[in-house]
């Protein structure tokens, strides 16, 4: 509310929207849908992107910089743990670090 009221156009927020929280899927814990409408209702300029598509993300930053009368938010849809088969979309990985053997396996998968 403050950023919009004071027209802080040089503020840009980024939501890593992976739909997981510690207790499970966000929509099953306390749903955020429709997240874009919520930000828009607070008078922010909203940009939706695929968070794994860096060209889309960079274009979104350019768009945010071009908006001069309100703050911007980039809602980047992502998959948590993407690229590591045993981590993808598993809420349990929110708050724990991989053990050495898990780390080796994850790094090997990411290198491929």
């Amino acid at each position: 509310m403050t950023a919009a009221h004071y027209k802080l156009a040089n503020v840009c927020a980024l939501v890593d929207y992976n739909n997981l929280q510690i207790d499970g899927k966000v929509e099953n814990v306390i749903g955020l849908h429709p997240l874009s409408d919520k930000w828009a209702a607070f008078n922010w300029h909203v940009i939706n992107v695929d968070g794994h598509d860096l060209e889309q993300v960079l274009a979104a930053y350019d768009e945010a910089a071009s908006v001069k009368d309100k703050p911007s938010v980039i809602i980047a849809k992502t998959i948590k743990g993407k690229g590591v088969s045993f981590m993808e979309n598993v809420a349990g990985w929110h708050g724990r670090a991989p053990k050495p053997d898990e780390l080796a396996k994850a790094l090997a998968e990411l290198a491929n």
């Binding site: 509310m1 403050t2 009221h5 004071y6």
Partner: protein, 311 residues
């Protein structure tokens, strides 16, 4: 006796700082008329930010302003800023040791008719537990002004506790004021009364009456709760052998506890504590409440008599 609320000293100091330091900015949370930040607002509108009823947002915004090199004074009622904003004060401001000044108005039960929800009785406890924080409780409007100016000279977070009611102005313009250094209000040898805030005036009245009854009371104004003046406390313990603490705050974890923490490690003389006895307040006139909750001269006298009996 001139009567004036300590918050007026805050408003006056902000005007002085507005003129002397262009980096000083002031934030409020929809209470500018009550907190006296409206005086600064009228004179320096480009350096005043009303954040609305959003204390946590105000503290985060103040943190950002401090990171940008400003000296922000974030201001609203103590019950809102110290309680609701504690997480932002702890993790955003104190952890990063940011140069944010926080002013909590309307501390204590003397807020009166607004009742328990608005009577901040916990700020000393909440603030003095935080690393990097400084905690100050001015006793009158003159000290309120000096403490605010002093806070602006400190690098790092400071919490200033102010009060609503017009109360006696009993310090002098010429009195020296230094952060972390207690001021001697009465010399004495039988017992020491250590207090903070406007309730100290009741301690002075008690000391003057006790003097007539042959009891010599030292009275210390412990305006800075953190860092506490351990030297003054230990000198009082060694030279008078008994301590009474006086505060308009919860008896647990407030000034009395801070004094006791020093004493118990070095020289555990008998202590009696005057304060709110682990209960919430209620609606009433400030005078009615001070009587009911035991914050008057007679209560201080009784505590002195009791502690003398334990020497």
């Amino acid at each position: 006796m001139i009567m004036k609320p300590t918050r007026d000293g805050y408003g006056e100091a902000l005007l002085l700082l507005g003129e002397s330091n262009p980096d000083v900015v002031v934030l409020d949370a929809d209470l500018a008329m009550s907190t006296r930040t409206n005086w600064f607002w009228e004179k320096y509108p480009e350096r005043f930010f009303d954040i609305g009823i959003a204390e946590q947002d105000m503290l985060g915004t103040a943190a950002g302003l401090a990171m940008g090199g400003k000296i922000p004074f974030a201001t609203t009622y103590g019950v809102f800023i110290a309680g609701r904003g504690w997480d932002q004060i702890r993790t955003t401001i104190c952890y990063a040791n940011l140069n944010v000044k926080i002013a909590g108005m309307h501390g204590g039960i003397s807020v009166g008719p607004d009742g328990a929800t608005h009577q901040a009785l916990e700020e000393i406890a909440l603030m003095r537990v935080l690393p990097n924080m400084h905690m100050i409780v001015p006793c009158d409007a003159i000290e309120g002004r000096k403490a605010t100016l002093g806070a602006s000279q400190v690098s790092g977070p400071v919490y200033l506790r102010f009060t609503r009611e017009a109360t006696p102005v009993f310090t002098q313009e010429t009195d020296e004021w230094q952060l972390g250094k207690a001021n001697l209000l009465r010399a004495g040898s039988d017992v020491t009364i250590i207090g903070c805030g406007p309730v100290l005036y009741e301690a002075l009245l008690a000391a003057d009456e006790l003097a007539k009854e042959g009891v010599s009371c030292r009275v210390l104004n412990m305006h800075t709760i953190k860092p506490i003046d351990a030297d003054a406390i230990l000198a009082a313990a060694a030279e008078t052998g008994a301590i009474v603490t006086v505060e308009e705050h919860q008896i647990n974890a407030g000034l009395g506890s801070a004094v006791a923490e020093v004493l118990v490690k070095h020289n555990p003389v008998p202590v009696e504590m005057i304060g709110i006895m682990d209960t919430f307040g209620e609606s009433g006139s400030p005078e009615e409440l001070a009587i009911k909750y035991g914050l008057k001269q007679k209560d201080v006298k009784a505590a002195v008599r009791k502690v003398l009996g334990r020497k």
